[in-house]
């Protein structure tokens, strides 16, 4: 019944069951009714614009028309339905025009009448800060902005590996995560600026890496290097020396998935039981493949590359031979 006659109010008024009767009606003698409907609508305009009164007048007219038909019993239901629909469409149209005309900068109408998919798309173009601001504007927007999917997209843009590296979640150790996990994780991810750099071995490009700070971020955004050269390697057993609770700890993911250079680098360090070391501007950058020290000190049990940032003074190079 729904798809036949889209106005619920008309159904309330008893139009609902009418088609059973109308089914037996034929398509002839429709002229008078068309005329009825046309005149009726013109009268209604005197009631003025889009109003309940107008709608009521329309519905009454429809009822009149329908009760008139019962005697005629000659038209098909579908034919009738189309014409009733025309009347209502006209009424709806009037209402729309009214809305258009009366809309003095009706921005709210626009924004709130968006289908869900539209404002969902808009939210996807916002970062966390803007989502938060928007969520503070009203309850409706708060609800929309708290959508876990939106925050999930945001987090994954920052760190793709969150999708499939469960060990990373453990490493992030967010016992405080609320039901809206992505939403509550996001602030942790943005404590450090986004940092992408190219990793080199002497004379050889390895991979383009994205670094995510897991804890204790220390570096100013301006002084983040855009490339790092791993000149030295040292035995993983030394890692115990500088993995302190306050050490800046990183997680690396290759910028592109299935990066051969990255995979080879991790394998290279793993096979030799080494960690890589790069030095620049008063800082050491340590690259740690999956190993017992990473598990023990960083609480990372996965297969990705992790790392540390240390001030130069923290390491003396004499033990490294």
């Amino acid at each position: 019944m729904d798809n036949r006659f889209p106005l619920s109010m008309a159904e309330d008024c008893g139009l609902d069951g009418s088609s059973d009767v109308l089914d037996e009606l034929g398509p002839k003698a429709f002229g008078p009714i068309l005329c009825d409907i046309a005149c009726g609508a013109d009268d209604a305009e005197e009631v003025g614009g889009d109003s309940v009164a107008l709608l009521e007048a329309d519905v009454r007219r429809l009822l009149d028309v329908v009760s008139g038909i019962k005697d005629q019993r000659r038209w098909s239901a579908s034919f009738m339905r189309d014409h009733l629909r025309t009347v209502l469409a006209r009424s709806t149209n009037l209402a729309r025009c009214d809305l258009e005309a009366g809309a003095l900068e009706q921005c709210t109408e626009g924004l709130d009448s968006f289908p869900e998919t539209v404002w969902g798309r808009i939210l996807r173009h916002l970062d966390g800060k803007d989502l938060v601001t928007l969520s503070l504007t009203s309850k409706t927007w708060h609800k929309r902005c708290e959508d876990p999917q939106v925050w999930k997209d945001l987090c994954l843009r920052r760190c793709r590996s969150l999708r499939n590296d469960s060990a990373l979640w453990v490493m992030l150790n967010r016992s405080s995560l609320t039901d809206n996990r992505w939403r509550s994780l996001y602030p942790c991810l943005v404590k450090s600026p986004p940092w992408t750099f190219s990793l080199h071995k002497p004379g050889k490009f390895v991979s383009t890496l994205k670094a995510i700070c897991v804890r204790n971020w220390v570096v100013e955004e301006e002084s983040l290097p855009s490339s790092l050269l791993v000149k030295r390697r040292f035995d993983q057993c030394y890692l115990d020396k500088f993995c302190k609770p306050e050490t800046c700890t990183l997680y690396f993911e290759p910028e592109s998935e299935n990066d051969v250079g990255y995979n080879n680098f991790v394998k290279y360090l793993t096979d030799r039981k080494r960690a890589g070391l790069a030095h620049t501007e008063g800082r050491f950058f340590v690259f740690i493949p999956p190993c017992i020290q990473a598990k023990k000190n960083l609480n990372y049990h996965g297969n990705a590359l992790t790392g540390l940032i240390l001030p130069s003074r923290a390491i003396t190079l004499d033990w490294m031979r």
Partner: protein, 164 residues
């Protein structure tokens, strides 16, 4: 189905007719689907919930991008054109968005959404309320509490902009 030279008539809500090349009209997935379903002789497609002003804008968009694809317009030119195209008042912008959503024109919808998002970026709560006529309905305590909970948001503005 011969598509070349085929003309589609789009009829707006206020009964204005727009004659559009088949290739331009079918940038709307909705229209493309409709035209596939009906017989070839049918050339008129009613667009019952888009008015002429907005439909004209939408067609302008489709026509430009249809042509741009044919003559291999440069990315920069297209981007510049898109930017100019979006320079409309809020109401028109929102109506274009609703039309793009209804007509299922993904690129236009995306462009519009990006534009609206751009309007929201880096604004204060009050500015956004004013911009979109949103009426704040939180109590002062609720609002203060939420601002407190979310104060990480203000600290990371720059870094995040860089991320976008």
């Amino acid at each position: 189905m011969t598509e070349k030279g085929r003309i589609v008539k789009m009829v707006s809500q206020d009964q204005e007719e727009f004659e559009v090349e088949y290739g331009v009209a079918t940038m709307s997935t909705l229209i493309a689907n409709v035209l596939q379903d009906v017989s070839e002789e049918t050339t008129t497609v009613p667009i019952p919930n888009v008015n002429a002003q907005v439909l004209a804008k939408v067609i302008e968009y489709c026509r430009y991008h249809y042509e741009a694809k044919r003559i291999d317009q440069s990315e920069e030119d297209i981007e510049r054109w898109n930017k100019d195209f979006m320079k409309v008042d809020n109401k028109t912008l929102f109506n274009i968005l609703i039309a793009a959503s209804f007509l299922d024109i993904a690129d236009l919808l995306d462009l519009g959404c990006k534009t609206v998002a751009g309007m929201i970026k880096d604004k204060s709560v009050e500015q956004i309320r004013e911009l979109f006529c949103i009426e704040g309905d939180f109590t002062e305590e609720q609002e203060a509490k939420m601002r407190e909970e979310n104060n990480w948001g203000s600290e990371m503005s720059q870094e995040n902009n860089a991320a976008q």
